[in-house]
Symmetry: none
Subunit: 211 residues, 4 copies
DNA sequence: TATGAATGAGGGTTCATTCAT
DNA sequence: CATGAATGAACCCTCATTCAT
């Protein structure tokens, strides 16, 4: 049982990894299930024991990969000790920008990943990724987000909308800037982007954070 | 000659219109060239006399349709006489929000169009749409944009980046809000969106617009 | 031993019942062994411990179900007491028509059963059903048939052929009439059918039935 | 045009013939479209230009082949001059039996055809075959049937039902007898069969055919 | 005996593209 | 210019059957 279960997990992962590589290399449309299976060293029919179809595996990959990116960003945050250095609204802004910067840098270093996620991400899928971290991972980004808010001591009027707007801004701008340097490379755009993010945060903060 | 040329244009338009209807109805992937040709009342082989392949016609459609949306927005702007009522930075902001609002409303009323454009739009394609208005149309949105700036009398540091950021913000937020009401319906999000747009404009304006 | 044996019989029956339901619902072709097994709550591999393949279980079902239909007809016959009321050739005819009518009514009330049996029945399979009543059932229709003849006191020249002809007539006519009301519904056809059956019986009877 | 059209007809026929051969040899279920196409010397995709799917070609074949069998029977009838020799009810009976005999003999000589038709024939499909003789053939069996009746001078109460019953009787009995000699070979069964057919005809005739 | 994961051949079907007319 | 029949590769998916556990 243990062995069989292990084997199954191994195959599942093999399929996920292969699919990810192909999706990011050739795009989802031009990747066939035959190809995924073959390259994963698995019979074509076996694919269907693990995933319903190509879009099933794609969605699972998006959740999974988004989760990984965020995990890494939070990891880096912890190591940088940002949260401890700053407090209040200022601290929150710095923290958030730090995370955004980490995410953007990851995308800059892995453009295929950016292509894959951007072309297929929707806020709905992303929200799922925030919470359900596909089994293994124990990270819950949503929780991390709210604990971040709490620790800052700031009260935000609509934290959900604030998050949504920032994420949409980051992802849409990253896409064009990182992949096409258009209208400018991402480093040139960062000041504008972070400036806007800061503004969004400020405008959502309830005026007097220390009454 | 005149007759033949007319006929050609007619076929071309027929293909474009049919393709647009099918793309917005069933999606680009699930629309076949056979289908487009047949529904356009044209032989399959003839399609290739006008377009290279499905993606060729798709790109042309995106440019074309984006142009139409902007044209309509500018048209409405003219009829509303906004530009004449307000001046300076304030006027520019109002004008811009007016245009954004028009675009968003158009998308709200035509969700298929939104899906089609959002799923396929990139800044690069959009930029092309701004200038080259596919033959017939005489509108040059870029020109309109700069004349708008000029008339306002405000000097912007990076008008191109400003435009880019605003458009990305609008399009990414519209997508989720209009199509899925997630995290909120578009009417609920408009205040936040317009607020942010205003901020972006302000932060790009060179401090003292009236020296 | 008793327990294991019971369990085996239980699984066998579960497979037979499930297969029957699926065969009559979706047709033999479109029913897969996976489906049968799964719905029977049995592992796929286990199926092969009980039946050779789909057609094996199908044949066994036809025999079984045909037997059930005949059993029920004979049961009803007994309860109606027809045999006691009439004697001689006349009695035989009435008895036979009674049985035919019961069978047809059963089919009318269970069209899926009719489809299944008609599409798969052959005289050869049916003959097997007449005698070997799949284990449990103790009824031997062939025996019942000959005892019916004997009791009537009539001598038939070729009782086997007579039975064959009548059964083929009934089954082929029922099929079209019950399932498609074509060329007429079964009630409209019954007079013609029974009239012909009567004739077949008469023509097989040795002239002077009471010497 | 003429050439292309000819070519199309040729391909169509090639597909029909190949399908017929495969259907009668291996059965409809076990024949694949790949096989039909390949053996017909045509690309697989081309099949779909001519027929919707396997069952489309099957139905067309049944109609076609049934028509051929009947045509041949009527041809033989004409050559035998039966109709001229006999008149009235007697003549009708002899004519009908002659046709039945021709059909049965054809089936006896072509058992594959019998298997194919019997396993797939339904009264509904047959009726279609009676009238619409797939383009080329000019024979309309239904018309022939009614002209036969008319010429005989006999009035039948329900000619449609009479035909239905006789055909069902013939086909179901032929099937078992010709293919399996069960319960008797077809020659042994013919007397019983024809006897019954005669009876059915008689019983449908309006009593006094010569007033 | 029972399981059910794995197989992989083969099914039906679609479709971009070509080319003779 | 226009056609549309023909292609055949490629696709997705199903499923009977096997076999290690």
């Amino acid at each position: 049982m243990g062995k069989a279960e292990e084997n199954k997990q191994h195959k599942r992962l093999s399929l996920l990894n292969t699919a990810f590589e192909l999706f990011t290399t050739k795009g989802v449309n031009k990747t066939s299930i035959s190809e995924i299976s073959e390259q994963a060293g698995i019979a074509k029919g076996t694919f269907y024991l693990y995933f319903k179809d190509k879009y099933d595996i794609r969605n699972k990959l998006i959740s999974h990969q988004s989760g990984l990116v965020l995990s890494k960003a939070l990891e880096e945050l912890k190591q940088a000790g940002i949260e401890e250095k700053y407090t209040g609204l200022e601290g929150f802004k710095r923290t958030f920008i730090f995370i955004a910067d980490s995410v953007i840098n990851q995308f800059t270093q892995n453009k295929a990943l950016l292509t894959f996620i951007s072309k297929n991400l929707s806020w709905a899928i992303f929200k799922k990724a925030l919470t359900s971290n596909t089994a293994d991972d124990s990270l819950d980004f949503r929780e991390a987000y709210y604990s971040l808010i709490e620790r800052s001591g700031v009260h935000f009027k609509e934290p959900e909308i604030m998050l949504f707007m920032i994420i949409e801004l980051i992802s849409s701008i990253s896409y064009s800037a990182i992949l096409y340097n258009d209208p400018l490379d991402i480093d040139g755009l960062k000041p504008y982007l972070y400036n806007t993010i800061n503004y969004i945060i400020e405008s959502h903060a309830d005026t007097e954070e220390k009454p």
